[in-house]
Amino acid sequence: MNWRPTNTAGVVALIAIAIVFPLFGGASAVTVVALGGLYAIVAIGLNLLVGYTGKISFGHNAFMAMGAYASGILTVRYDWSPLSAMIAAAVSTGLVAFIIGAPILRVRGHYLAMITLAFSQVVIIVSTRWTEVTGGLTGIPGVPDFSVFGFSFDTKLKMYYLIWGVAIVLFLFSFRIVDSRFGRALRALGAHETAAGALGVDVVRCRIQIFVLSAVYAALAGSLYAHFLNYVNGTFFDLSVMIQLMAILVVGGIGTLWGPVVGAVLLIWVSQNLGSYAEYSQLIFGLLYGGALLFLPGGVVGEVAARLKR
């Protein structure tokens, strides 16, 4: 697992591609890649969680939903500015993640996976049925365009740049985390939990911090999603979103820094081009990442990296 930020050239290339892509891609391609950026944001956070702590969350679709609903409700009903709503969304989701994670992450084994699965089921149930607050199945229409300091991101193209801007900032931030004291502690944690604990790493605290951080990433993505579509609906964030996120992680490559970004663009492109096979999308994604676990353990990025080294 190479976590060291040695590839400045790669980052520059990513930024360049993100900037020039809309010049070549059509409007629909821009929308698809913008969606890919949203998923990349969530996947970057999840990748930190799984790659470093070996813990899995099946609740990040719910964290996205919370971010989206918080933004939608605060901007539409209470006339908050999009930025302050987004901050509130991130903070409140982080708090919820802390409340879930703090007790559960003390326990060994994969209880986090089960409890987050239960949590996401609850969020989906509540979001589609608590009509007074979430609008029920109708959702919340009329979410305003994202704007900050008087500048409005009022076209899909502007939103594309905003989303990828945020994605790249968070991506670089994950580089920073990896190379910080915290990151070294996490790396030790991933390598051998008991040894890390013996060396003075507060194992539980690290796990909780990274879980909360990954939930905040998901909330930010959800919030951007609400402004991107100008609409929030609970069905946007059901279990199939989690399945897509899993597929993105595994196919892209868990434990590689580039995996989530590559996986997100790749799989969102696939999901948008299923056409008449859309009905089979869950099946396709399930088979895709089950197959990747068996035959491509390092994901696309891990495989390419291994080939390049040879």
């Binding site: 559960i104 996976a113 089960m114 089921q121 149930i125 509540v126 899993m246 595994v250 990442y289 676990l293």
Partner: protein, 297 residues
């Protein structure tokens, strides 16, 4: 509302028995492998769906259709172990890989069931052969009695299997210490396969006895897995009698919360209980069958 209480309690016990059987299945796989089987609930779904398919579409006689449904589900359970778990096992994959893989299985199975069998909830007639029983003001239907009888038979049979047969003891030994078991000549891989087969069998039995009560649909697996897990947490992972007690607690809680708190949020209450339980007794209220000695995979 209060005069409904006896009915609710009986309903809760009947459904709770299924959750208990499911919890035993989860516990068996967890003990031999350290894996939490996210597809356990889908075995319940498959048992019910395939039996309904054999009965409704292929027109097999009911007993034959039920047997065929159980056999098909066990076959699928064994196939899953062989095709996707064993390669990871041999590769020495990290523990989260299994969680991802079983989540993939839990994604693929319901979708295959939906495409192969159908979207609609399916059911088949009650088994018959047992009388319905009058308990005070509540009538226990014949099928509900079947559920309870089958649960008791399953528990007794499993206790006997683990305590008295060589195979059962070998599985238990594998659960206690995999490496020592291997040194003693126990084929550990086969024990892992057995545990998946047994888990599928239990799920399928639960599915076929429960389906005539209401129905089964392709997407019931997730809730079944979560309810079974909640029961297993209360009962202690792998503790057979504890699992049944846990199942009954969850079943009754669900039945009462659906009636008295909210019909919409009944499941949400169970997941809330599960969460609180994990905080208070992470190892379960009852002692687990085996305190896991080995690293969890």
């Amino acid at each position: 509302m209060m005069d409904l209480l006896p009915v609710l309690l009986v309903n809760g016990v009947v459904f709770g028995a299924i959750y208990g059987i499911n919890a035993i299945g989860l516990g068996i796989v967890y003990n031999t492998t350290g894996i939490i089987n996210f597809a356990q609930g889908d075995f319940v779904m498959l048992g019910g769906m395939t039996a309904a398919y054999f009965y409704g579409h292929l027109g097999l006689p009911l007993p034959l259709a039920i047997a065929a449904g159980v056999i098909a589900t066990v076959f699928i359970g064994l196939l899953i172990e062989r095709a996707v778990i064993r390669p990871l096992w041999r590769r020495g994959a990290k523990d989260w890989t299994y969680v991802f893989m079983l989540f993939a299985v839990a994604t693929v199975l319901p979708n295959l069931a939906m495409l192969g069998i159908g979207r609609d909830p399916l059911t088949f007639p009650s088994f018959g052969g047992l009388p319905s029983v009058q308990l005070g003001t509540v009538t226990l239907s014949s099928q509900a009695l079947w559920v309870l009888v089958v649960t008791v038979v399953v528990v007794v049979a499993l206790q006997g299997f683990f305590d008295r047969t060589l195979l059962g003891k070998a599985m238990k030994a594998t659960a206690i210490n995999r490496r020592v078991a291997a040194w003693l000549g126990i084929p550990v891989e086969r024990m892992v396969a057995m545990s998946f087969g047994l888990a599928a069998l239990l799920g399928a039995i639960g599915g076929v006895v429960f389906t005539p009560l209401i129905s089964t649909q392709f997407d019931t697996g997730v809730a079944m897995t979560l309810n079974g897990f909640a029961a297993a947490i209360i009962g202690g992972m792998g503790n057979i009698r504890g699992a049944i007690v846990g199942g009954l607690v969850i079943g009754v809680l669900q039945s009462l919360s659906t009636a008295f708190i909210s019909s919409v949020y009944g499941d949400a209450v169970i997941y809330g209980v599960l969460f609180v339980l994990l905080i208070i007794w992470p190892a379960g209220f009852f002692r687990p069958l085996i305190e896991l000695q080995h690293e969890e995979i």
